[in-house]
Amino acid sequence: MTDILNALVLLSNFVLVPGLAYGSQLALGALGVTLVYAVLRFSNFAHGDLMAFGAMCTILVTWGLQSLGVSFGPLPTALLALPLGIIGAVLLSLVFDRFVYRFYRQQKAAPVVFVIASVGVMFMINGLVRLIIGPDDQRFTDGERFIIRAREFREWTGLSEGLAIRTTQGITVLVAIVVVIALFWFLNRSRMGKAMRAYSDNEDLALLSGINPDRVVLYAWIIAAALATIAGTLYGLDKSFKPFTYFQLLLPIFASAIVGGIGNPVGAIAGGFVIAFSEVTVTYAYKKFLTYLVPESWAPEGLVQLLSTDYKFAVSFVILVLVLLIRPTGIFRGRVI
């Protein structure tokens, strides 16, 4: 019995908790991508770098607050800085929309032109972030590090395996839940949210019923930039901030949005967790887990790891390709590009 409990705790510690946190970060990122896709109808390659930019603004404000001696008690100061970071990312998005995307919208350019333009924006934001904060790792986490420590857990339960939950992991999941509830309330209940959904469903009909397209686009960018900043900051708190990592995050985020069904917010969340848990479960070494469960003589010799951790990004793409082939609309019927 204790062995089964130990095995479960082990799995929670190394698979469930990190998977939940990573999944929440991916889900928030994928929501932004999906929203831009639903309203502006293109895959935004600059989203990863927008996340980096938002997180960077938050970090700069955090450092400012820390040097002023402001802190948020046991919580990271970055949460206090988040609103200002969001404003920074929103402003940047609106500037790029005004000077880049709006022109192509008026031209009714093909989606692929938007994508190429977003590649240009990606380069610019990437350069900007490296210019301002540099290409290196930045740590900005402060406050209490753990909600539950492994040693305390062991003493408390008497098990030999410990369960550690970091504050950042707890905050990530909590913030993600709050943000998602607020977003769904906005999309389903508010007037603007309904207008956005209508515009996404059928542009012509929406225009006919007097919906102002400029306002819809404005709100879409504001929400997407806010989501990107929150996702980027949470990821940076949980792991660490490095501009290039955010560019690489683009891949699993796209995978999440498409696997769930692009253009569909519920799908983006589901996709985020599908991708996160597949990455974590496929690259986890099950040796110790199995050792608890099977009789001693059966204990595996190797690591029992399906794929080495370096193939993490490959996993999300294999899933992506499979979904594209078998069910191109994603788990929850999104659109087909």
Binding site: D310, Y311, A314, I337
Partner: protein, 435 residues
């Protein structure tokens, strides 16, 4: 006319670099420009001719590079003895698994297909791992500091360029079969992901090309500088130009490379221009501009897309092999999509998609700017911050960050060209303008 002027300006810029910086710098920019131009031609074949949005260049370039390694380095007999048969057997097992799945899916009733596929995948995976793991461990244990891989064929590296093209083309065939049904955005995301997978494999499968431990000291198609500096004829040759053998050897070697690369570029350029102006090229443009109409005229669009995808990727593979030859080493860790995929895209868009001369010009221009933006960025930053105190942290931060200006600059150039000259510097010729 415009074309000649632009190319002349480009040549002048390189000569100025030679005069003011050094001929070594100018020639290395020229060499990498030639390679970039070949890569840009590859992208242009896919995007300019057929409108395929492939952002997996990095993967194909890396495959070309690994081909150059596998053709040129000498084999490691100990490694082959230790695990060669195991790796070969696992390749056979992999093929058998894929074949069995294909056979099962073809011949079983609908309801059983999923189950059979699942079981075969598990059985095949288990069988491959039991053969593959010990073989790989054995190979990687052979003198890990210097080899630890199977080695190559020990043939001339120039042969590797062709093999690189074939390997990249073959990979493109498989990838194209899977992804080409997808429309623009999805194709882009799928190819971006696949190129990451290719890189992940190359980084981690040490038995193949040493992974992140890198293969260096590749054989070269041109003489080595050291050998030249000791050769009597070369010392005389250098003296005739009033230079020491040391200075001249670098320039001489780089010129040899430049000649080789220029030859490859010329051949590929000539071939792709002929294809573009032939009925085949007309058909491709028709498919690009109006897919439905082309399909209605009886053109097999999917097949043509696959063909052009393979051709373009093969050209990128050749360029990748040339790049590894020029570097003299294969470093999977240095491949990065910004530099190997998106920068090539900027070249094609800026130069003029659909026009081979434009793609070549774009390759030269963007590579030139990419390299020269670094010193220029530093100068710019220094002059922008001249009013700050010398030791101020902000100033030193800005000066340190100056090299990253080039990413910003590339994005800006791409956006400006896309907006104000969407057809590029040398636009595609249309209709009766075509020769």
């Amino acid at each position: 006319m415009r074309q000649t002027l632009l190319f002349a300006a480009m040549g002048l810029a390189l000569i100025l670099v030679g005069l003011f910086q050094s001929w070594n710098v100018a020639l290395s920019i020229l060499n990498l420009s030639l390679i970039s131009a070949v890569m840009a031609l590859g992208v242009n074949i896919q995007w300019g001719y057929a409108g395929l949005f492939n952002v997996g260049m990095m993967g194909f370039a890396a495959l070309g590079g690994v081909a150059a390694v596998l053709v040129s380095v000498s084999p490691v007999p100990e490694a082959w003895a230790a695990g060669g048969s195991g790796v070969l057997l696992s390749a056979v097992l992999l093929a058998a698994t894929v074949g069995a799945i294909w056979f099962a899916r073809r011949n079983l009733a609908r309801g059983w297909r999923g189950l059979a596929t699942g079981l075969l995948v598990i059985a095949g995976y288990a069988a491959i791992r039991t053969v593959y793991d010990p073989a790989v461990d054995a190979i990687e244990a052979v003198d890990p500091a210097r080899s630890g891989y199977l080695g190559g064929l020990g043939l001339p590296i120039v042969l590797g360029w062709a093999v690189g093209g074939v390997l990249a083309g073959a990979a493109a065939w498989v990838i194209g079969k899977v992804t080409l049904g997808l429309r623009a955005d999805y194709l882009a995301i799928a190819t971006l992901g696949i190129s990451e997978i290719v890189l992940a494999v190359l980084k981690n499968e040490d038995w193949l090309a040493r992974g992140v431990k890198n293969v260096s000291g590749l054989p070269r198609p041109v003489p080595r500088e050291i050998a030249l500096q000791e050769a009597d004829w070369f010392i005389d040759f250098a003296a005739r130009f009033g230079a020491t053998a040391q200075e001249a050897s670098g320039v001489f070697v780089k010129s040899c490379y430049a000649a080789l690369f220029a030859l490859v570029l010329a051949v590929i350029f000539w071939l792709s221009n002929r294809a573009l102006n032939a009925p085949w090229g007309r058909m491709m443009r028709a498919i690009r501009d109006n897919r439905d109409a082309a399909e209605a005229m009886g053109k097999d669009v999917t097949r043509r897309h696959l063909q052009v995808f393979v051709l373009g990727s093969a050209v990128v593979g050749i360029a990748g092999a040339m790049l590894v030859t020029y570097d003299g080493q294969f470093t999977p860790g240095s491949y990065n999509p910004l530099r190997f995929t998106f920068l090539v895209w900027v070249m094609v868009i800026v130069g003029g998609s659909g026009n081979n001369a434009g793609a070549v010009l774009g390759g030269f221009l963007i590579w030139f700017l990419w390299i020269e933006a670094e010193p220029a960025g530093a100068i710019l930053m220094r002059s922008l911050t001249f009013w700050m105190e010398d030791g101020s942290p902000l100033r030193s931060h800005l000066l340190g960050a100056a090299p990253h200006l080039r990413l910003f600059l590339m994005g800006l150039i791409l956006l400006l060209v896309l907006r104000f000259a969407p057809r590029g510097l040398i636009p595609e010729r249309q209709g009766s303008q075509r020769s």
